[in-house]
């Protein structure tokens, strides 16, 4: 590990200890404290959602019935597991994960601003997040007390099953609606902040790439999430028998819901992955001590992805009797969105060329990201291709592809970001050895868990099955690969848990970190560690590009 600056003269006052007491934290307008509260919430829900995932893998470890009761109650419980895994991971972990936690903390710091544009709105977003979270928790608890059936629709709430199920769909959908508004307000805040609060000298092309990624994300959040809002509102009214837009018995169309839903939810997967790409751009540059290769290409490809993401939603409905022509258009557009992504990957690899590459934990995560995300991207191709989607639609291949992008991409980037910025956030270094072991466990466990699911997909294993028989031509693959997948899931779970413990222990016992342990050149590293409430102890302005490693420019 390198130390470019002498440890900051410890004035003793920072955002963590500026004011004490629970009230001061809960009513804080400081973006760093709000970001931190988001962070704890996201980490908590990651463990909860992960626990559900482990229960799913436990159930499917062997053919026939797993550990759940062998009757309707057991099956419904299983259906609840994967629904809650999906709802929690999507709405409470991945979407707010990087933007609301790390983004909140580092967006103003990287901009050289004192705070986001609307601090009160920021706090409101956080509380909306918890209102939504509590509604989701009530939905879980309620079904165990028998107040209502189990939430068993899957996180997509597809009609017309969601209309007829006895589960607390209205409650869960309202939760998603409220979480949507939390997401909208965060996005709105970030867009306004980036537009209006860049420090003097910071032109658009002098912004760190993390900010470009967050900016593209925020645009999608602002434009797409309201459509989800109105869709979920219509679903609620459908359940209350006020309208019959999605009800086929009353002249409605259940597929219309899918169009509405994916008009949001496909852009939403870019809400999930774009910030991760931003984190990786930061880390690869800093850990190679090298200027990022193709800055403008990476920045603009984020925007290109955001724009194209709005017109690819129909690829979720290739098997719903969509016409060949419509299918062809959506397939083509989906292929088009792959191009900016491919460009990004090439740029990252090119940045490594002739660098000075350290293998600290953040970099290990970033390199894992490159490998896993590339697999995730490439395995999307057969799903975007019309003819091969027949084989894979609604099988475990989709599950594997999705997890390679969402876990192998977003969550790995989240871990990379945590390990990269943890010293700045808390002024303490974590145990590097434990962190590296966890990174290895996560890498191995993840691949074992999800690469096997590609094979399950080739053998047609359908999604959301409570149990499976093996007495057919596909059975041997189903048996062996499900088993390996479950083993991988357990390793992965341990890796995640231990790395969280390692990080949290570091806050109390870690050795003091310097202001700039990685030698980064973006603005957050010029702030004291941990930063004071107003972020900088001096007026900030810049007259340079964000990444200024290399012979010609020298260090600041």
């Amino acid at each position: 590990m390198s130390t470019h600056d002498t440890p900051h003269a410890d004035s003793g006052v920072n955002y963590l200890n500026a004011s004490k007491g629970l009230g001061n934290w809960l009513l804080t307008l400081d973006h760093k404290r709000i970001g931190l509260m988001y962070l704890w919430s996201v980490m908590f829900f990651l463990l909860v959602g992960g626990a559900f995932a482990l229960l799913i893998r436990l159930q499917l470890a062997f053919p026939g019935h797993g550990f759940l009761p062998q009757d309707a109650s057991g099956k419904d419980m299983y259906n609840e597991f994967f629904t809650l895994h999906g709802v929690i991971m999507v709405f409470l972990v991945i979407i707010p994960g990087i933007p609301a936690a790390l983004g909140n903390f580092f967006l103003p710091l990287q901009l050289g601003a004192k705070d986001v544009a609307f601090p009160k709105l920021n706090l409101i977003s956080f509380y909306l997040y918890w209102v939504g979270a509590i509604m989701a928790i009530v939905a879980i608890i309620g079904s165990n007390f028998g107040w209502w059936g189990r939430l068993d629709t899957g996180w997509t709430f597809y009609t017309s099953y969601s209309i007829v199920t006895s589960g607390p769909v209205i409650l869960a959908v309202s939760a998603a609606f409220i979480l949507g508004f939390s997401s909208i307000f965060t996005g709105l805040n970030f867009v306004a902040t980036i537009h209006k609060m860049r420090c003097p000298g910071m032109g658009w092309y002098r912004m760190p790439l993390f900010l470009w990624a967050v900016y593209a994300t925020a645009i999608i959040q602002v434009l797409a999430t309201p459509v989800l809002g109105i869709t979920l509102l219509m679903l609620i009214m459908e359940k209350l028998d006020i309208i019959h837009v999605f009800n086929p018995d009353k002249g409605g169309d259940p597929i219309l819901f899918q169009h509405f839903f994916w008009f949001y939810s496909h852009p939403a997967v870019y809400i999930m992955i774009l910030p991760g790409m931003g984190v990786i751009s930061e880390i690869i540059s800093a850990q190679s001590k090298k200027v990022i290769f193709g800055y403008k290409a990476i920045a603009n490809s984020s925007i290109a992805i955001a724009v194209i993401s709005f017109v690819v939603w129909g690829h979720h409905m290739f098997m719903s009797g969509q016409t060949t022509y419509a299918g062809a258009v959506f397939s083509f557009l989906t292929f088009a969105v792959a191009i900016p992504t491919a460009i990004k990957v090439c740029n990252w690899v090119a940045t490594l060329y002739q660098g000075s590459i350290s293998l600290d934990t953040p970099m290990l995560y970033a390199l894992s990201f490159l490998f896993l995300f590339t697999i995730g991207g490439l395995t999307g191709i057969p799903l975007a291709t019309l003819s091969t989607d027949i084989v894979f639609h609604d099988t475990y291949y989709v599950v594997a592809h999705f997890h390679y992008v969402m876990f192998g991409g977003t969550i790995i980037a989240f871990f990379a970001g945590l390990h990269y910025w943890w010293p700045k956030m808390f002024g303490r270094m974590y145990n590097e050895f434990v962190a590296k072991c966890c990174c290895l466990a996560i890498f191995v466990g993840f691949n074992l868990c999800f690469f096997t699911q590609f094979f399950l997909g080739f053998a047609g294993f359908p999604r959301r099955y409570y149990s499976y028989s093996v007495d057919h031509e596909l059975g041997e693959v189903w048996r062996s690969m499900s088993g390996f997948s479950s083993i991988g899931a357990m390793i992965l779970g341990v890796g995640v848990l231990v790395s969280f413990v390692n990080l949290i222990v570091a806050i109390y016992t870690g050795r003091k970190a310097s202001d700039n342990p990685w030698g980064g050149t973006t603005l957050e590293w010029t702030a004291p560690t941990p930063p004071p409430t107003l972020n900088f102890d001096h007026d900030v302005s810049i007259d340079r590009d964000p990444y200024i490693y290399g012979k010609n420019t020298g260090h600041h």
Partner: protein, 224 residues
């Protein structure tokens, strides 16, 4: 954060001096950021209503005959009255903002109250329209039934009508509340030529609410 109270005197009126929030460099930056944020919010509102508009388009394409027939049951005169009321209210709101910019406290408050009155007028007309529909047995959803020629998909037209105009009415009520709050603060002397951000933002919101009605009116009343 500046909390110290200071008084500004403009003409014969006194105003509470407004300080720039701690994280902004200048008052202009603060105003720009707030206005920009409001524009983004209006975009989300447009996307929100956009979903409903798409649903309307889809169902009109599927059941054109039913929609034509049902539109004849709507009273376009009442719709026109409401359209005029809302356009008038947009004018009064603009005048209120103009007055605030000129630090004219009295006119500002009057114009804002006039806007709220227009909003109330809109709601009253809407009340009569709704209760007339209910009287005919046209309810949203399950209880839908009415005498007359039977179109089995008429409920789609009317449930979309109730949901879309209902969502719009909700926005009108929120807008009126915001304007009332602004007029209260204006009367207390909070807004003057150097600080009128909340009035400006509320005005933008009100214009959008009016604009949405401009689309709803032909969709349900005029297109036959």
């Amino acid at each position: 954060m500046a909390t110290e109270k200071q008084i500004t005197k403009i003409g014969n009126d006194f105003f509470k001096t407004r300080f720039v929030a701690h994280h902004f460099a200048t008052a202009d930056q603060e105003f720009d950021a707030c206005k920009f944020g409001m524009w983004m919010f209006l975009l989300t509102e447009i996307m929100l209503f956009g979903g409903l508009f798409v649903a309307w388009v889809v169902y009109r394409l599927w059941y054109p005959e039913t929609f034509k027939h049902c539109a004849q049951l709507m009273d376009w005169k009442l719709g026109l009255v409401n359209t005029c009321i809302l356009i008038l209210s947009s004018l009064t709101m603009s005048l209120a903002i103009r007055a605030v910019k000129m630090s004219d406290k009295k006119t500002a408050v009057k114009m804002m109250l006039a806007t709220v009155l227009c909003g109330a007028g809109f709601l009253i007309v809407k009340y009569f329209e709704y209760s007339h529909k209910f009287h005919l047995g046209i309810f949203p959803g399950a209880n839908f039934s009415f005498d007359g020629e039977h179109y089995s998909n008429a409920h789609h037209f009317f449930s979309l009508y109730f949901v879309m105009t209902g969502t719009h009415v909700l926005h009108v009520i929120i807008g009126m509340t915001a304007i009332l709050w602004c007029s209260y603060r204006a009367a207390r002397g909070h807004f003057y030529k150097d600080y009128y951000t909340p009035v400006e933002l509320t005005g933008m919101y009100w214009h959008l609410v009016e604009l949405i009605w401009i689309f709803l009116f032909p969709m349900f009343y005029l297109i036959k």
